[in-house]
């Protein structure tokens, strides 16, 4: 299919991310992704991924 290489690369980049939080948990808990949190899950400004990452 068209885009197979780029889609595969994107899925590979996503493969170590945690599963999404279900609605019930999100409404009642403080934010249960904390155990999985790392600094690559950044706010939009954190998406400036140039430089620095390799040494992180």
């Amino acid at each position: 299919m068209a885009g197979a290489k780029t889609l595969e690369a994107s899925l590979n980049r996503a493969k170590d991310l945690p599963r999404g939080t279900m609605l019930a948990a999100s409404c009642t808990q403080e934010w249960d992704q904390w155990q999985n949190w790392d600094d690559t899950m950044s706010p939009e400004w954190g998406d400036v991924r140039a430089g620095g990452q390799d040494n992180w």
Binding site: M1, A2, G3, A4, K5, T6, L7, E8, A9, S10, L11, R13, A14, K15, L17, P18, R19, G20, T21, M22, L23, S26, C27, E30, W31, Q33, W34, N36, W37, D39, T40, M41, S42, P43, E44, W45, G46, D47, V48, R49, A50, G51, G52, Q53, N55, W56
Partner: protein, 362 residues
């Protein structure tokens, strides 16, 4: 409070101050008459208290206005302090700039200190010049492109953020080609323009249908190019969400309220989209950072954010979306995501594409 020791800092050493007058900017109508730089006292207090919260791994995003207007000496001081407080490679510094002030001294400094650099660039000359103007009202494209060139010469490959307004919707293909082919960029992102307060620029708002069409066009171009190294934040987000993963982008992963934004006077807010008295969490002039972040005002913000999830009952894409960006909700933080419909369609369509891909591999 859980998670305080993992919070990312957005630091605005000169607040809203900027050398450009981009007509769509949410700071455009704010005071641009005087430059107030964060004092050494606030900077030192912030870094030493942030180190207490995050002793081994910290992320600081330097933001504005135009953050380089604080002057390179400000950043030399900040980096020297960071080096005293943290061990090597424990702090990740990022800076978002319009690049118009970047010269070789800046570029070398940023490269030597391992900064991630994001440049605000709206696309080709014509697209960029629609709203990103100098004080004289001229297109800032050449100034920004010069800065990018200087950054590249110093070995920095910046990321790019482009703002999409209603006026720019028709340039999706042209601007994609500009970034991918002319600029040879490997990663960029799109900020959709939306002013829900009926401000002077709300006529530039992008409707949900138009945003769906725009992002869908970008996804199709991304697939057609089939370049595995090309990373577009909005596309990545949709792939992450559609494949059942937590999205990296704050607007879709439910982490609203898990950052803090420091203004030059020491006041602290949830995000630079929420800089107003109602959302002020406190000030470093009065309190310790940890006390502010664990305080009632932040707790209230988090509650309001969670309350907004009541709009998502029954939605299959909640885990991928979390009711979107808090500043894009109709009626305020607890309201419904303006682009709910667009994102549902985009996640659904991408899920079908992923299924097709996987079935071909079986």
């Amino acid at each position: 409070m859980k998670g305080v020791n993992k919070m990312i800092a957005i630091v605005k050493p000169i607040g809203n101050f900027c050398n450009l007058r981009c007509s769509y900017c949410f700071y455009h109508e704010k005071d641009q008459g005087s430059l107030f730089v964060m004092s050494d006292g606030i900077l030192t207090k912030f870094l030493s208290q942030y180190k207490e919260l995050r002793p081994e791994k910290a992320t600081i995003i330097w933001h504005g206005g135009e953050p380089t207007l604080a002057g390179i000496q400000f950043y030399r001081k900040a980096i020297a302090l960071e080096k005293k407080l943290w061990a090597p490679n424990q702090v990740r510094n990022l800076i978002q700039t319009n690049a118009t002030t970047i010269n070789s001294e800046w570029a070398v400094f940023l490269e030597e200190n391992n900064f991630g650099v994001g440049v605000s660039l709206d696309g080709c000359r014509e697209s960029h010049g629609l709203y990103r103007h100098t004080v004289k009202g001229e297109n800032s494209f050449d100034l920004t492109m010069h800065g990018i060139e200087v950054l590249k010469q110093a070995g920095i490959n910046p990321g790019y953020i482009q703002t999409v307004t209603k006026a720019k919707l028709g340039a999706a293909i042209k601007d994609f080609d500009f970034f991918h082919e002319s600029l040879e960029a490997s990663h960029w992102s799109y900020n959709v323009f939306l002013d829900l307060n009926n401000g002077a620029m709300s006529e530039l708002n992008v409707s949900p249908d138009a945003w769906y069409d725009y992002v869908n066009t970008i996804i199709n171009l991304w697939l057609a190019n089939d370049d595995p190294k090309l990373i577009i934040r909005e596309v990545e987000t949709i792939v992450q969400g559609a494949s059942g993963k937590t999205c990296r982008a704050c607007r879709n992963n439910g982490s609203c309220g898990h950052y803090f934004c420091l203004e030059p006077d020491g006041t602290i807010y949830p995000c630079d989209r929420f800089i107003n008295k109602e959302y002020c969490w406190g000030s470093l002039s009065d309190d310790n950072l940890e006390i502010i972040l664990a305080g009632e005002k932040r707790r209230f913000f988090l509650q309001e954010n969670r309350k907004s999830y009541e709009n998502c009952v029954g939605c299959n894409w909640f885990t991928a979306c979390h009711n979107g960006c808090g500043s894009h909700r109709v009626g305020g933080l607890s309201g419904k995501f303006y682009y709910c419909k667009s994102m549902k369609l985009l996640f659904g369509k991408m899920a079908e594409t992923i299924e097709e891909f996987r079935s071909e591999r079986r």
